[in-house]
Symmetry: C2
Subunit: 402 residues, 2 copies
């Protein structure tokens, strides 16, 4: 064959790009480097003993069931467990409102699949989760960014952006929000602002996609109310076990109005038939045995320590630089550092890697890649010593390039 290979592909495939982060991570895989670039949970938090005992239970009592195909909606026992977990968040639903997904990235993919015709818009934070942007763009959806401040998406800007899109006849299909400890910015939307955002959304009957992988990882401050508990009919929430239990099972769930979850079930049938029943059975028994509550206590203590160390390091090393800003997350895995006017986190990246410290340049997280002053710093993966040393190195790089 000696013909133009691109001619085989769909428009959506020709528009796909590799994840900038996954490419960066290859650069940062060199010995001696301290990386704040990834978004990995600390392996020390993995509940290995619980995995072992759940495995024993499953293999002794239900191996033929767990190793077979399962329903597209998910293992009914796990869905009932999730109903109980949702109830703790003040969300009263039945299992009909819950779809088990192959982690929350699949939730985002299904959202893209059931909502977007090519060219349809949606609202996202600017910045927002890169995997969300990728999932939406892969269905030729057009994410339109709304600016954040230290309290998350700015309602006035949201109103303005929606009005602008409506005027152009390009009303958004939904509003995509990460309300708690946002990836990448680390900021949380306070209750009052959540209510304001909901009001704005209801005016146009816009659905809200509430992506909340870190919600259970709060280290200080007060829990804010979920969008879903405030407006169950207009909110679909995406959750994952990746950050609160372990990522290697690839397990998450979507919770929302039945009519919407039902359509996602139909879409999922053609996507992968079902999420691994084996992983679902193990997780069910881990939940029954208290792995989640137990694990969260230790995980929260560990990440809280690492977050404090990173913030203390920044306070010590860079807070005196005029024009520098960093967020002070109350939970999650990330903080967001903005360099002084005129500096570029993109330009600084290679210099940082040369000095053996890495981050993700913030431009990766903007729907339009239009902002280069910020960087995302992860504090869950590097150990305490590395965090102290890495912040020192990073401060040196910033000060040496001003």
């Amino acid at each position: 064959m000696n013909i133009n290979r691109d001619s085989y592909f769909s428009d959506r495939a020709l528009g796909m790009k590799r994840s900038v982060i996954r490419e960066l991570l290859k650069l940062t895989a060199k010995p001696g480097i301290i990386s704040f670039a990834g978004g990995l949970p600390a392996p020390a938090t993995f509940p290995i003993d619980h995995v072992r005992s759940a495995f024993g239970k499953v293999m002794d009592e239900e191996a033929h069931h767990a190793l077979q195909y399962g329903p597209t909606e998910g293992d009914i026992r796990l869905r009932e467990d999730l109903v109980r977990i949702m109830a703790r968040e003040g969300i009263e639903v039945t299992s009909d409102h819950i779809l088990v997904t192959t982690a929350s990235q699949q939730g985002l993919d299904l959202v893209g699949k059931v909502f977007f015709n090519p060219g349809d818009t949606c609202i996202t934070g600017s910045p927002t989760y890169l995997g969300g942007l990728q999932a939406f763009k892969s269905y030729q959806g057009v994410p339109v960014g709304v600016e954040l401040d230290d309290e998350g998406m700015i309602p006035e800007k949201l109103e303005e952006t929606i009005a602008g899109l409506e005027a152009e006849g390009r009303a958004p299909k939904f509003i995509y929000i990460i309300p708690d400890f946002q990836n990448p910015a680390g900021v949380t939307i306070p209750n009052a602002r959540r209510k304001r955002i909901l009001e704005i959304a209801s005016k146009g009957d816009y659905l809200i996609i509430e992506d909340t992988p870190y919600r259970q990882l709060r280290y200080s401050g007060e829990h804010q109310t979920t969008f879903q508990s405030m407006a169950p009919d207009m909110v679909l929430s995406l959750y994952t076990f990746s950050k609160i239990l372990l990522p290697g099972f690839r397990l998450g769930w979507a919770c929302g109005p039945h009519w919407l979850v039902d359509r996602m079930v139909m879409a999922k049938q053609a996507v992968d038939l079902c999420t691994p029943p084996f992983n679902q059975a193990l997780t069910h028994w881990m939940l029954v045995n208290g792995a989640l509550e137990e694990g969260l206590i230790e995980t929260i203590a560990l990440y809280d320590r690492r977050r404090r160390l990173m913030l203390e390091g920044l306070d010590r090393e860079v807070s005196d630089i005029p024009g520098i800003h960093y967020t002070r997350p109350e939970g999650g895995l990330f903080l967001w550092l903005t360099l002084p006017e005129g500096m570029s986190a993109d330009d600084l990246f290679q210099k940082a890697v040369d000095k053996n410290v890495a981050y993700v340049p913030g431009s990766a997280f903007y729907p339009n890649n239009d902002y280069v002053r910020s960087m995302r710093l992860n504090f869950s993966y590097a150990n305490e010593e590395q965090i102290v040393e890495g912040v020192k190195r990073l401060a040196g790089v910033i000060k040496g390039n001003m």
Copy 2:
């Protein structure tokens, strides 16, 4: 909210239908029924001891790795295992040609995603695998069926169909073929016909998607050559562990030209980031320990016995009915029974269920649902006694309704 919910959805979502089979299976879940309707492997074939020992190995030596995120392409050790498995099929590739998928249904989904603009056509068998039709239609691809006979897709009909599509300016994006023990028809394409199909495909530079979940399950006759080994540059093959090891891990792989696999990797990043690394690590060690070869010996013996019983039953009970026809598969999980002219397997279905025997009406497997005389009979799941009794019941239903 009191508005038209359909207005939220994409055109592709509005076109989605539930799998007819999954809905039928609910009807057939009544006590006392003998079901030939599903496509489940026999739980007796699951390599439980191998799962246990692989689990011990993984948890003792690499738990932190197996429970963490992994690369989108798949665990490099598993990909190397798959390189060796492919080599046994005469397919010489490196791991760059292999993408681990969340079972082969995800392979079909990624194919749909990277190839179809709305309205693009592809060639499929008529009948063909329902999950393939669903995956392609979910991207608004348009499957165009080509008739099969007892040796699979008929080359003359293929040529004719392609010429017709080309004349209309609707040349197909690819030809989707299940060459070995086709689902649902149970037929296998002999080598000579494979070559003829390849010639036809090459004339138009059409890619072939070779879906081959049952290839290793041959009970009689001779192995035929894979399309991929005959034309590595123009064939993408989809495999799964579901039928040859166990389905509950949801693990499969795609193997094909690097430029195509590479694009599927990009698409997969946004779809689920990676297939569960835990399941991949377990499977790697199961393969190292010989679970596949060992298991296949017993699985083949078991399914061969069941296939013979079903064929002997049909020979005894219905072969004397004028105009009846059934295929004699040399492997796989299914055979295909065609009723005499004037009878409908759709109409007969409820009567069969009333008599406590079930099958899948063949109309489910046609791109255009246009043919109602056939039914798919599964012989892997029901046990020996049930097969004998079920065929008797089915014969009674057919004869009672002529």
